[in-house]
Symmetry: C2
Subunit: 160 residues, 2 copies
């Protein structure tokens, strides 16, 4: 009885606070530290965005191998409502966090959704979005010839 | 003679392609992979920006210790001319790279310039800007009570 009780106590670890999956996809760990692919300002819905990539994505972007993006790529898009900066009102800067959304490339596993897993977590609580990947896919339809990706990686100076 | 000759041949290394210093400040290595503090769209000069931080800066931002920013902080701002995205014309995205500029905090070393070293490298060639830090400082005057920093770190979900 004592042993059984001990076995039921989970050990605390990094995964304990993980938001639940979105469309069956596990929450990507550590994306807050990923490098930048691009930024954008959507003037139609008043949001600012940064587009991040995992190591595979960054290597692919820097070597121009992005149509198709390689398996293992994860693209992350962080979206904020825009607001003017208090001390420079012509500058639009991030306000409230809207969501963080991800495209995960695996041409086998995600064959039925055009080679990508589509996931989104809402707000600071990172509540999983589970209305179905078709919501994401239909918006990305205009860029299906670009491997379904809107982002043009921004031009960066090469690392010396 | 043979030995002397060998000693004069420098070994190739990462520093060989380093852009020359700006205001006496060495080019920060690896900033292209730094994590994101914020983004901005300056509607007065039609540029998009991403604001990056080295590890010290990111730790300070995430724990709210940014007035003053700690010694060792480096803030990087990458600036692009904006252009509309071809496949979503209401989205403004990075066009031509304008420059990458940096603030390096060292309250002793840079005491005469308000605790910050001010550096900038222009264009893809990363040509050093050497017109004097006063050019930078005068623009940052409106935020002298915020340790001379315009950027409000954007709100990110905590890492699980």
């Amino acid at each position: 009885m004592g042993l059984f009780f001990v076995m039921m106590v989970p050990l605390a670890n990094a995964g304990d606070d993980l938001p639940p999956p979105s469309h069956g996809i596990q929450y990507p760990l550590g994306w807050q530290d990923w490098a930048v692919l691009a930024v954008s300002h959507r003037t139609d819905n008043q949001t600012l965005r940064v587009i991040l990539g995992n190591d595979t994505a960054i290597r692919a972007a820097r070597s121009g191998r992005i149509n198709p993006w390689p398996d293992g790529t994860i693209l992350g898009k962080v979206v904020w409502k825009k607001r003017p900066l208090k001390d420079w009102s012509e500058a639009m800067v991030p306000g409230e966090l809207v969501h963080a959304e991800f495209m995960l490339k695996d041409s086998g596993k995600y064959r039925q959704t055009y080679g990508w897993g589509w996931a989104r977590w809402l707000g600071l609580q990172q509540k999983p979005f589970n209305d179905g990947p078709q919501v994401c896919i239909s918006c990305h339809e205009p860029v299906k010839e670009r491997d379904w990706v809107f982002t043009d990686p921004a031009t960066f100076p090469k690392r010396p």
